[in-house]
């Protein structure tokens, strides 16, 4: 009987199954973690897992470089996620875990560059450029205003010519 279910019921059941699978696939892709964290890595303790995610988002995958270790499916990223979790379970603070990885790979491994003397330009550069551009614009506008003010008014002949020219313009 299982091999030959009643035609209509079998069809409907198959349809339901297909819809369930489709919805499941859509749900999974919607989480945005398709490549990264695997189910077997996730810690049983949700609080610890949340801290691990927090740290994982901060760390650069050394293989793909523009992904965090949480988003990357590189093997090294996976091993780093596991290491982060092992250290948290060994009651390291978030700071200690981050510091350990930075002590191995340098600041490069942090996706958010630290705030220190050598990165001042990085942090303030855009604001500086914006300020310089704003200053240049203000100076430019002011100077133009100065030029216009200093011009003598148009003579009668010039005014007449101007009107003639403007009047020539096709509507």
């Amino acid at each position: 009987m299982a091999d030959h279910p009643e035609a209509a019921g079998g069809m409907r059941r198959r349809l339901v199954k297909a819809v369930v699978v489709l919805v499941a696939i859509l749900l999974m892709s919607g989480t945005g973690q398709a490549g990264g964290i695997q189910p077997d890595e996730i810690l049983a303790d949700p609080a610890l897992e949340a801290r691990a995610r927090e740290i994982g988002r901060e760390l650069r995958c050394l293989v793909c470089q523009n992904q965090s270790i949480d988003d990357s499916n590189a093997e090294l990223a996976r091993d780093m996620r596991i290491l982060v979790r092992a250290r948290l379970q060994a009651s390291d603070t978030d700071r200690e875990v981050l510091d350990y990885v930075v002590s191995r790979y340098g600041d490069f491994v942090r996706l958010r560059p630290p705030f220190k003397a050598s990165t001042l330009l990085l942090w303030f550069g855009p604001a500086l450029i914006l300020a310089a551009g704003g200053l240049a614009m203000v100076l430019f506008v002011r100077r133009r205003a100065g030029i216009e003010d200093s011009l003598p008014p148009l003579s009668e002949v010039e005014q007449a010519r101007l009107e003639a020219l403007l009047g020539d313009r096709p509507r």
Binding site: V63, S150, P152
Partner: protein
């Protein structure tokens, strides 16, 4: 075009000093200076290989390692093994194509016996893969430790294989080479460093 002769007729507008000189040329110089800075920035930045991450471990002691032996061997690799004489620590894997490229050079060095080479067998898919690779191609390593879960690789700040560390007699990391060692790398960079450290 009629706009241009204005300045000759009218008194000099504010902001344009009558002295001319540098002040008058400044608006043209600024973009040039900016362009020069950007050009220099890109020249340096684009010429760099983004995969060569400078190691922060130079002049630091080798991290604590206690690597188990690979399948079929009875000795692994520990930090203590890396003290006493200048040595090379080579991170490799049978899955790593570039490791195979540098392998003949490591074999030649091992034959000459100029410096002991120790291996970190990184992330093999199976316990047999590493030993099989060494059996087939030859084993240049004095000691080899297995690193299946990247603990040692991460402790050493390794981003990819092969990477080779030059370790001095005190067990300090003195240099890191990323990628396969070419004969040229050996002659120009690694061997001079090793010779200097051996003389210390």
């Amino acid at each position: 075009m009629t706009g241009l002769p204005v300045s000759s007729k009218a008194p000099p507008p504010a902001g344009m000093s009558s002295g001319g000189g540098l002040r008058a040329r400044l608006p043209f110089l600024i973009p040039l200076v900016v362009l020069a800075v950007i050009a220099a920035y890109f020249y340096v930045g684009l010429g760099r290989d983004p995969h060569v991450v400078p190691s922060v471990l130079i002049d630091q002691p080798v991290p604590d390692l206690a690597l188990p032996p690979i399948l079929g061997r009875d000795r692994g690799l520990t930090t203590a093994d890396l003290k006493g004489e200048v040595s090379l620590l080579n991170v490799f894997g049978s899955w790593c194509v570039a490791c195979r490229v540098e392998h003949p050079l490591l074999m030649a060095l091992a034959e000459q016996g100029v410096v002991p080479i120790h291996g970190v067998n990184w992330r093999e898919p199976t316990p047999e893969a590493g030993p099989n690779w060494l059996d087939r191609l030859g084993d240049p390593y004095t000691l080899v430790g297995a690193d299946p879960d990247s603990r040692a690789a991460i402790a050493l700040g390794v981003a990819g294989a092969p990477e080779t560390f030059v370790i001095d007699a005190a067990g300090m990391i003195r240099y890191k080479h990323t990628g396969p060692i070419t004969p040229d790398d050996w002659e120009r960079t690694l061997w001079p460093i090793i010779r200097k450290l051996q003389a210390e």
